[in-house]
């Protein structure tokens, strides 16, 4: 049952929020031991929220657009009085004294926070293998990764543990796991969703986004969590985009571009699997059949995004993660002096990938290296923004694969960080440019695992990319992605 149908049934008094919660808790109990989508199932909180929703309905009050809908929340989103671990040992024992803005907005909309989902430590990774608490597994094939870093949220939705989930996307961390788990994932325009209460990885790239099983469900979730928040200075001072009303507009006459470099074209990225390219091309053909005007668009700098990202994101992370020093909260490993205590706590509390990125970022910002690394990466970022702006002069939306491959096996890429980083090549440009993108399931690969197609658009074009995604969703539902 979709989130929208669930909310409608609860608001109409046809279903009780508590019953819906119990159904989902039962599914979690049956299967999460295997999937490990959750770091924590927040049954107590969820039950009290569900009871409030039912009470509101009984009293004739409207509990909101997500009445009684369980939502799984990535465990880097602060929840008052509930552990928020970022899947890291460094935050051991820390209870946030406040709720993230998205948590407040979900609560006001009648949603039920069902649990905190697993992630790559501090959202650094593409498989959840970097979680300090063990990886999550792909519900379609538990020998495969669910993607990452929001792998727990993607797996929770794919496994039916919750109709909706919240993730965060810094370089593809919502879209890539959505693609690997066969669900919808959205990276909104930077500033559409408040970052207040999202534990920062790379502040200029981080954006919270929805997971859902349908475009309409993702739309309602984004409408609930989006909109201006005065507590986030980078929040766009506008209400959330209105999406549900425009989903059925169709693509007749719309200009759709295929990013040549990411879709098997000449001079493009190596390593994008043929089955993934084929599904992407099939999606583009379906849009053309639906009336869109399709063209090939070259965005040469898109390929450079990966290198720029792996300097900018670690640089910001090296600063954002300084505060985990053992002084005020989280893990403290005692040592004779304060400085030694800082080092001991951080050495014990952070995993290898986090340490790797802190070191990369520290180096990139160091005197004498700044210009060659961080400074140059910022220039590439500007170049990417310029190239995408030029592309959006020619087309309304762009299409590419979301992930170069379908879900891979555990350990396949952990030995080689570069092989893991390449997973993000298609998703990173939107983070660097701040533009929105959506990944929607579109058929399966040669291995039978889900493939996601990515629709990208210029800033605040969520209504447009959701419309395009809806057309592809219809095509796939009618068997057009086989």
């Amino acid at each position: 049952m979709s989130a929208l149908d669930t909310a409608a049934a609860v608001r109409a008094g046809e279903r009780s929020a508590v019953d819906i919660l119990d159904e989902h808790l039962a599914r979690i109990a049956r299967r999460d031991g295997e999937i490990h989508a959750f770091n924590l199932v927040t049954e107590g909180l969820a039950r009290s929220q569900a009871e409030s929703v039912d009470a509101a309905v009984a009293e004739g009050r409207d509990p909101g657009p997500l009445a009684g809908v369980p939502v799984a929340v990535k465990d880097n989103t602060c929840t008052r009085g509930i552990p928020t671990t970022c899947s890291s040992r460094i935050l051991e024992g820390w209870l946030p004294p406040y709720d993230a803005t998205v948590i407040e907005r979900l609560g006001s909309a009648g949603a039920i926070i069902i649990g905190k989902t697993n992630l790559d430590e501090f959202a650094m990774g593409s498989s959840t293998e970097n979680s300090a608490f063990g990886p999550s597994r792909n519900p379609h094939d538990v020998t495969k990764v669910p993607g990452g870093s929001s792998g727990g949220s993607a797996a929770a939705v794919a496994a039916g543990f919750a109709p909706l989930a919240i993730g965060s996307d810094t370089g593809g961390s919502v879209r890539q796991p959505a693609s690997l788990c066969g669900v919808v994932g959205v990276k909104p325009t930077y500033g559409v969703v408040s970052r207040y209460g999202l534990v920062a990885f790379a502040s200029s790239l981080d954006q919270i986004g929805p997971f859902a099983t349908s475009i309409a469900d993702a739309a309602v979730l984004l409408e609930v969590i989006g909109g201006h928040d005065p507590r986030d200075s980078t929040s766009i001072p506008e209400p959330a985009p209105s999406l549900l009303d425009v989903l059925g507009r169709g693509v007749d006459g719309m200009r759709v571009g295929v990013i040549t470099e990411l879709a098997g074209g000449p001079g493009g990225v190596e390593g994008i699997a043929p089955d993934v390219v084929a599904r992407t091309r099939q999606a583009v053909a379906a849009l053309e059949a639906a009336g869109a005007r399709v063209s090939e668009i070259s965005v040469p700098s898109a390929i450079l995004g990966l290198s720029a990202y792996y300097l900018i994101a670690p640089a910001e992370a090296s600063s954002n993660l300084s505060r985990y020093d053992g002084v005020r909260y989280g893990l403290r490993v005692d040592a004779p002096t304060t400085g030694e205590m800082n080092i001991a706590s951080r050495s014990a509390g952070f995993g290898d990938e986090v340490k790797r990125r802190i070191m990369l970022g520290t180096y990139a910002l160091s005197a004498g290296y700044y210009d060659a690394f961080y400074g140059k990466a910022l220039k590439v970022r500007t170049l990417i923004m310029r190239d995408f702006a030029a592309a959006y002069e020619q087309v309304d939306v762009l299409v590419s694969p979301t992930s170069p491959t379908t879900a891979f096996g555990f350990g396949d890429k952990t030995a080689d960080p570069m092989a893991m980083y390449v997973n993000d090549v298609c998703t990173i440009p939107s983070n660097l440019s701040g533009h929105p993108a959506i990944s929607i399931p579109f058929g399966v690969g040669d291995d039978g695992m889900p493939i996601g197609v990515q629709i990208l658009g210029p800033a605040q074009s969520e209504p447009t990319i959701f419309t395009v995604a809806t057309v592809l969703e219809d095509v796939a539902a009618k068997g057009g992605a086989q």
Partner: protein
């Protein structure tokens, strides 16, 4: 002004001082959150997720702090430009995020100046916005962090808005350094953006000191002096440091670039961190905040609301009174320049106005003395309606209770003693005392003085003290010089 005497450095050496002055802005709330910006609260009571740097928290800049910073920038004659917040990364337990949010390459204010009372101009490199840290108290181990048994941290101060005012290395004497800090404080108080109390730490001075041979324009290795908590302490610390460096140079050594900790009680500084390995703060643009872009309208509004600043006030009073720079500086410091200008504007004699203010109005509260009454009093004195003694007495009463100087004079029986009246009295006295008069006119210097005292005493007795002793002396001298000095009269 009561500057101490400039200590003399050994022959052939001169000072080069640049000051970094941190000023806490007196906003109601902190720089990035709504917590109270208050000194003296119970530890860790004015804190929230933002100023504690808790995971997921985000800063929102305090508009009033930005406005105050721009006001200060305009008062320091700086360029006020679009600014970018930056992160300065280093680990310290009282800094919650382990980075300080500050301004680096694009500060709000740059390229200003402060003109000192003697006309010396101090260049201001920048005056940027940043957040304060918390406050650590290290228990045991001599109060130093790495020897302490444990440390207590109070985060009430974390996130308090600061302006760091960086002067160019252009201060050439200790007196100029003192006058500069004092002048900055006057400006801060005049525009009302800080209470600028060094003893409470709302104004903190670090001094970068080097020396060089007189006549050279090189900038030699400098040391940064910290823990200076008063202007006097700064003067001592700079002098100590200059002598220490000169001693090193004259004995063939050279100073190391380092931070030194001033010990006021011991009267000396001790080395802190060596700056040979310069800290790498890995500055980069703060991604959680957007650039601060002042509009032309905002700057125009700030300029329009700008009160008269000390340098301009001094210039105005010099213009109106021709008094000496140090006297004018004193009056401006006491806030009596407006009274002086108003009295002069009402026709009171400028010299007399400045003299009375300088010597007879050195009081904290002169609010009851209106410009009108003060001007009237000075006019009465210069026209001879009041003697100097009487004028001082009337002024004292004006300070205590205000009122009209004419009625006060009348109540006290200070009747008008006109010049011709006094002259008659003097002439009569001379006629009545011919022997004494001869001794005054023809006697030796000692006799003359004695007799002047006699005549003045007699006049004072006759007038019950209302006569002006100086006027009597002038009359006596005048009569003594006249051709027929053997007898009074014309």
């Amino acid at each position: 002004m009561s500057w101490s005497i400039e200590p003399t450095l050994p022959e052939g050496w001169e000072l080069v001082v640049g000051l970094e002055v941190h000023v806490e802005l007196s906003t109601a709330t902190k720089l990035f959150c709504g917590c109270a910006n208050r000194f003296g609260s119970e530890p860790n009571t004015n804190i929230c997720p933002v100023c504690l740097g808790l995971p997921g928290s985000l800063p929102v800049i305090n508009g009033t702090a930005v406005k105050y910073a721009m006001q200060l920038g305009r008062a320091l004659l700086c360029d006020v430009k679009p600014a970018v917040m930056a992160r300065k990364n280093y680990f310290y337990p009282d800094m919650p995020k382990d980075y300080q949010t500050t301004q680096y390459e694009q500060p709000t204010n740059s390229d200003g100046e402060v003109v000192l009372p003697d006309g010396f101009t101090v260049g201001i490199e920048r005056a940027h916005i940043e957040e304060d840290t918390g406050k650590s108290t290290h228990i045991g181990g001599g109060g130093r962090i790495n020897e302490a048994i444990y440390s207590l941290v109070d985060y009430n101060r974390a996130g308090v808005p600061l302006i760091e005012i960086v002067s160019r290395p252009c201060l050439d004497t200790i007196d100029h350094a003192k006058a500069y800090v004092s002048g900055l404080r006057d400006i801060l108080l005049a525009i009302g953006v800080s209470d600028a109390r060094m003893e409470e730490g709302s104004m903190r001075v670090d001094a970068n000191v080097s020396v060089r041979p007189v006549g050279s324009d090189e900038l030699r290795t400098r040391c940064e002096l910290k823990n200076i908590n008063s202007i006097r302490s700064m003067a001592r610390a700079i002098e100590y440091e200059a002598r220490r460096q000169i001693d090193l140079y004259t004995s063939g050594e050279r100073p190391r670039q380092e931070t030194r900790h001033w010990d006021e009680a011991a009267g000396r500084s001790t080395p802190g961190r060596s700056k040979e390995n310069l800290d790498d703060y890995r500055f980069f643009q703060e991604p959680d905040l957007v650039p601060l872009v002042p509009t032309a309208e905002e700057i125009a509004a700030i300029d329009a609301a700008m009160p008269a600043l000390p340098a301009a006030r001094r210039a105005a009073l010099v213009e109106a009174s021709s008094a000496d720079a140090d006297v004018v500086a004193t009056l401006v410091e006491r806030g009596q320049d407006a009274l002086a200008l108003a009295a002069i504007g009402r026709g009171a004699d400028a010299d007399k106005v400045v003299t009375r203010l300088r010597h007879d109005l050195a009081v904290d509260d002169f609010s009851k003395v209106s410009a009108e009454s003060f001007a009237a009093l000075i006019v009465m004195e210069t026209s001879g309606d009041l003697t100097a003694t009487q004028a001082k007495q009337v002024l004292a009463e004006l300070v205590d209770s205000g009122g009209d100087p004419r009625s006060i004079a009348a109540e006290r029986g200070f009747e008008a003693m006109h010049d011709d009246e006094l002259a008659d009295l003097v002439d009569r006295l001379i006629a009545d005392n011919p022997d004494e008069w001869q001794r005054f006119v023809g006697g030796h210097e000692g006799d003359r003085k004695k007799m002047q005292g006699f005549f003045i005493g007699q006049i004072m007795r006759a007038t019950k003290g209302q006569a002006d002793g100086r006027a009597v002396a002038d009359l006596l001298a005048q009569r003594g010089r006249s051709p027929a000095n053997g007898s009074p009269g014309t």
